[in-house]
């Protein structure tokens, strides 16, 4: 699989299969294509050559509704988290449930627990523009996992939060992984990767020179 913008290839000869229940870190220098790679993983971009399959289905054959249904199974945390600015953050975190027609009482209880876990328990009524960068990232992570998706893709989820909070977020992702979810985290933070390796069987992928490599265990 390869991807390029305007003729120049950013990623080439990439071949990877994420097995269900795996835990991956994605590292690489800035601009190496980590975000692009994640977008290819959830179908926001289509590979310029080769084939990407999501849950066994070729991205090229998917229509817009197929994409929507796929995204309900993939929780995504962007680097620049976007919300519906006119709704309180609690409603924003519930949004994936609402758009898929699932908002029963059990989920409301989950929401409280989840918001407490990401340290937003008392901020539920705040509007997204009033949140700090770290709070937004935590809210975005909560929104990505509320549907209990099969796969979580996170782009620098700990970029703006302190070490203690990044440990909590990592813990959340590790718990999800133990429940059988597939996790992929793009990060620069080697300390985070080391911390994770103590708790979970994590693999580290590295993008360098347009190639995706499996990094050694010697981090």
């Amino acid at each position: 699989m390869a991807y390029g913008y305007g003729g120049a290839e950013l990623l080439s000869d990439i071949s990877l299969k994420l097995s269900p229940g795996s835990f991956h870190f994605l590292t690489g220098p800035s601009g190496s294509g980590k975000t692009t790679f994640l977008k290819l993983c959830y179908g926001a971009l289509t590979a310029t050559s080769g084939e990407v399959r999501l849950f066994g289905q070729d991205v090229r054959t998917m229509n817009r509704d197929d994409h929507a249904l796929t995204r309900r199974r993939i929780g995504v945390v962007h680097q620049d988290c976007q919300f519906l600015d006119h709704l309180p953050i609690a409603d924003n975190i519930m949004l994936p449930l609402n758009v898929s027609g699932r908002d029963d009482l059990e989920d409301v209880a989950n929401l409280k627990e989840l918001m407490g876990w990401v340290g937003l328990g008392k901020r539920g009524d705040a509007y997204p523009p009033t949140l700090s960068g770290g709070e937004r990232q935590r809210a975005a992570l909560a929104r990505a996992v509320i549907m209990s998706p099969d796969v979580v893709l996170a782009d620098e989820p700990t970029g703006n939060v302190d070490w203690e909070m990044s440990q909590r977020l990592l813990q959340l992702l590790i718990e999800l992984n133990r429940m059988g979810k597939t996790i992929m985290i793009a990060t620069h933070d080697m300390n985070l990767i080391r911390a994770a390796k103590n708790n979970v069987q994590a693999r580290v992928l590295r993008i360098a020179n347009r190639k995706l490599q499996l990094a050694g265990a010697d981090l």
Partner: protein
Amino acid sequence: MSKVVDHLKGVFSGDAQADRVVPPSGFTARLTSFAAATMAFLTVFALALSMASGRLAMKWGDELTHSSTLRISAPAGQMADQTAAALRLLETTPGVATARALTSDEQRALLEPWFGPDLPIDALPVPQLIEIQETDEGYDAAGLRLRLQAEVPGAVLDDHTRWRKPLQQAAGRLRMLGWVSILLIGATTATMITLAANAALAANAQVISVLRLVGARDDYIAQAFVRRFTLRALAGAAIGTAAGLIAVMILPAAQEKGGFLTGLGFQGMGWFWPLLIPPLAAIVAFFATRAAARRALSELT
């Protein structure tokens, strides 16, 4: 088609949550409602015009087809004799249902608009008019003229044809103009709502991309916009229609003497038609917004 019906149902049953995902936009909302109200107001008048001219064409057609006038100009001394002769002749003419000489009071009433009241009609050489009502088969106008020429030399028969044709034609054209106006108003409503919906979709690009990211289907997103614009158009058109109906009601009532213009309005079942304007505006808004939303969404990733 059943999909459209489902959507229409969704528009009215609603999903409070889906409504909230699109931020409230006070100003555009008011503009859309205002445009719908104005268009509905105009539609009421175009409808009133169409129906009034339709009624008029029918009335003129009916009244004039089955009636004609005989005018007798004779010296004062012979007037009574000639009138009696003409009436006798008409009574024996096949196709004439009734023939009646107008009384001098009636003749004065006919002249009053031109000469004012208190006209001393007996002192003037005014011709005597005879009103003829035809049967459905009608009479042979040429034959009657020949017989009149022989027996009542001062009589002139007017069977109204030369008045009726152009008037009926004019009324028919006026009615068509009314319907064309209604069609144009409908098309303009669709245009304005499409523009407003496009503006709303463009202004909410971030909302749409967030919704797509969390797995919302296009139908869900479109529905939020469609519902909003449909309800705005419905409310606006209801207000405009009500205002238009009130305006039509306070127009001077139709009068015998007022002629065509004061007859502008609705009669009987005619009052039912304007009530269709708000639902039709809502249907126009529904399809215009749905088309705009689908086009806009299909261009996004």
